[in-house]
């Protein structure tokens, strides 16, 4: 028994592979894949989903590399999120007790 969604093959889209262009169907996983973009070191994202316990900085604060910016509790661990380099805080996007998802923007540095 056929369980694919695609019953009617109809017109196929074109897929470019280094060896040429092909008329072929695309899979759901391929269509929904995320395109890669250059990471911006000035934006600090949550690498794991969790809860913000405390935020130690405010916009305008000058912070040295290695100082703790906030505590993100995730997987039963209080993770210290630290400053990646010397700089000034531009904006804080989270507050204590907030539950955030993975890749949520937490802090922006000037």
């Amino acid at each position: 028994m056929d369980h694919t969604d695609e019953k009617d093959y109809g017109e196929y889209p074109t897929l470019s592979i280094s060896s040429g262009l092909y008329k072929t169907g695309l899979t759901k996983k391929f269509k929904e894949r995320k395109n890669w973009s250059v990471p911006n070191p000035k934006k600090i994202y949550a690498i794991i989903p969790g809860t913000i316990l405390d935020v130690y900085v405010k916009p305008g604060h000058s912070v040295k590399k290695g100082e703790t910016l906030l505590i993100l509790e995730a997987m039963k661990m209080q993770n210290q999120i630290t400053m990646p380099f010397d700089g000034k805080i531009k904006k804080v996007y989270v507050q204590p007790d907030e539950v955030i998802k993975k890749l949520h923007l937490m802090i922006e540095i000037q």
Binding site: T4, S19, Y22, T27
Partner: protein, 514 residues
């Protein structure tokens, strides 16, 4: 007189146990659209073939008032029976008894039937429908899971192990199915996950339904944990019976040979594949045009559909087909399709099933996501699996066989026993477009009309290299055949390979790129 009374008592006890969790619990099970454990076993096995073991086993829990509770069969039914007359060991968790929760004696019943299956060299079918560990039994239930996982691993590659998910299968329990050969799931009934939706919501704030998180479709299409998708339990049972018919009972046997049947007329091999190598077609039609009675039993239909795997028969003998599918992603190899094919190749090799490879693919899928997901390591699995396999290995190159993909798809260099190519085959380091751009870069750049020059050079390259004859001249291809000769060449090759014997270097085990 006393004997009669004893017999009467035995019968009454049996009837009592067969009630499982009682009428109310059975009603609840039915309301969820599920059959009971006993109904499932009887539906899968041949009529009147089931013999139950350990019916009167009862739990030993003494904490939390458990000593007062009667749990019939301790929530699992085990035994032996037959499918198409062939012996099977089977167990089914009974959700009507304490939610099918796994305690020490429940686990012991399962491990006993597993040991039996391994010793007798017969397939094992496990039906999962359980709320998980029986918390009142504490660490004993964890021990039970561990004993099951260990046996799954021991039996792997010795006897076929089938897992059927017909209800929840959550937390650590999921690792038994994951260790077995084939996992069957049913729409709206199967639920498999490590962490359920409620925990995910409280801990992570992500809201998702059970079906979206770990339902049948997700495991078949996205996660790749399940191999067979069915709309209802009956369809699932039919799939199990069909599979058991096609595979051998153990690694010391070959699959049962049946009478051969010519493919059906409606699959005309000459009309399936478009001449233009950039146009798609359904590779399954090619398989059906070759296989006995045009029957093809596909595995993992919904996952990584750019490669097709499954069983079909040739001359009455079960073969494993591995075929690129130009209908999806031009049939490229990528992380998922490599995983899918590699595991299947190892299955066939373990169980003495010859492997037929049908090749038509432009190489590996380009992209940052693929590289970052480790396509190098995943792609290597196919090379490893083919190289290591010692069953008869036959390749038919239909159209494109480019670059690393050509090597990976059971090439002569990985010790294919036979490599055939259609006259439409293009065996080259890359496609004509890519190759011409590199080889004739200077000429194209310096031409007064670069586009016209590029076209001319691509044509030149095609003429010279996009054919099977360069490879045939090196002996990498055994024969260039007409499409209509494919089946007869495969039958011939299989008959020659009947007694194939190769020896591999002695080792404890290899280190495949898991």
């Amino acid at each position: 007189m006393s004997l009669k009374r004893n017999i009467q008592e035995l019968r009454e006890r049996k009837i009592e146990v067969q009630k499982g969790g009682g009428d109310k619990a059975i009603e609840k099970q039915a309301a969820m659209g599920k059959l009971t454990a006993r109904e499932r076993i009887l539906a899968i096995l041949d009529e009147n073939s089931f013999h139950e073991y350990d019916m009167f086993v009862s739990h030993l829990a003494r904490d939390f008032n458990m000593e007062k509770k009667i749990l019939h069969g301790d929530g699992v039914i085990t035994g032996t029976g037959t499918i198409h007359g062939s012996p099977i060991c089977i167990y089914a968790q009974d959700f009507t008894v304490a939610g099918g929760s796994l305690g020490l004696m429940h686990a012991r019943k399962i491990t006993k039937i597993m040991d039996h299956a391994l010793k007798m060299r017969v397939p094992l079918i496990g039906i999962n429908d359980s709320g998980g560990a029986r918390i009142q039994e504490g660490v004993n239930s964890l021990a039970g899971y561990g004993e099951i996982f260990f046996r799954n691993t021991l039996a792997s590659g010795v006897i076929p192990q089938l897992s059927v998910i017909l209800g929840p299968c959550a937390g650590g329990a999921v690792y038994s199915p994951a260790l077995t050969d084939f996992v069957f799931v049913v729409e709206n009934i199967s639920k498999m996950f490590i962490t359920g939706p409620s925990v995910i919501k409280t801990v992570l704030g992500e809201e998702i339904s059970m079906e979206e998180l770990g339902g049948a479709r997700v495991h078949c299409e996205t996660a790749g944990n399940a191999h067979f998708y069915a709309k209802n339990e009956q369809e699932c049972f039919d799939q199990i019976k069909k599979l058991i018919e096609l595979i051998p009972r153990s690694n010391t046997e070959k699959a049962k040979r049946v009478e051969t049947k010519e493919p059906r007329k409606e699959y005309n091999i000459e009309e399936i594949v478009p001449e233009n190598a950039r146009l798609p077609y359904d590779i399954k039609d090619v398989i059906r045009s070759i296989a006995d009675d045009s029957e093809f039993f596909e595995i993992m239909e919904l996952y990584a559909p750019n490669i097709v795997i499954g069983f079909g028969r040739l001359d009455g003998q079960t073969c494993g087909f591995v075929a690129n599918q130009p209908k999806y992603l031009a049939g490229v190899l990528d992380c998922d399709s490599s995983d899918k094919a590699a595991r299947f190749i190892r299955y066939c090799d373990s169980f003495n099933i010859p492997i037929i490879t049908l090749e038509d693919m432009p190489g590996y899928l380009p992209g940052v996501d693929q590289e970052h997901m480790g396509v190098i390591r995943h792609g290597a699995k196919i090379l490893y699996a083919y190289s290591e396999a010692t069953v008869p290995k036959i390749t038919v190159i239909i159209r494109k066989a480019y670059g690393g993909g050509y090597i990976a798809m059971n090439s002569r260099h990985l010790r294919a026993d036979f490599v055939f190519a259609w006259p439409t085959a293009e065996i080259a380091v890359m496609g004509p477009e890519g190759a011409a751009n590199i080889v004739f870069r200077k000429e194209i750049q310096e031409a007064s009309n670069p586009e016209a020059m590029r076209k001319q050079k691509i044509e030149e390259y095609k003429e010279k290299f996009a054919n099977p004859f360069v490879a045939a001249a090196q002996g990498y291809i055994d024969e260039v055949i007409e499409p209509t000769e494919t089946r007869s060449m495969l039958l011939h090759a299989l008959s020659v390979a009947e007694n194939k014997s190769v020896s591999m270097p002695r080792k404890k085990h290899g280190i495949p790129p898991f």
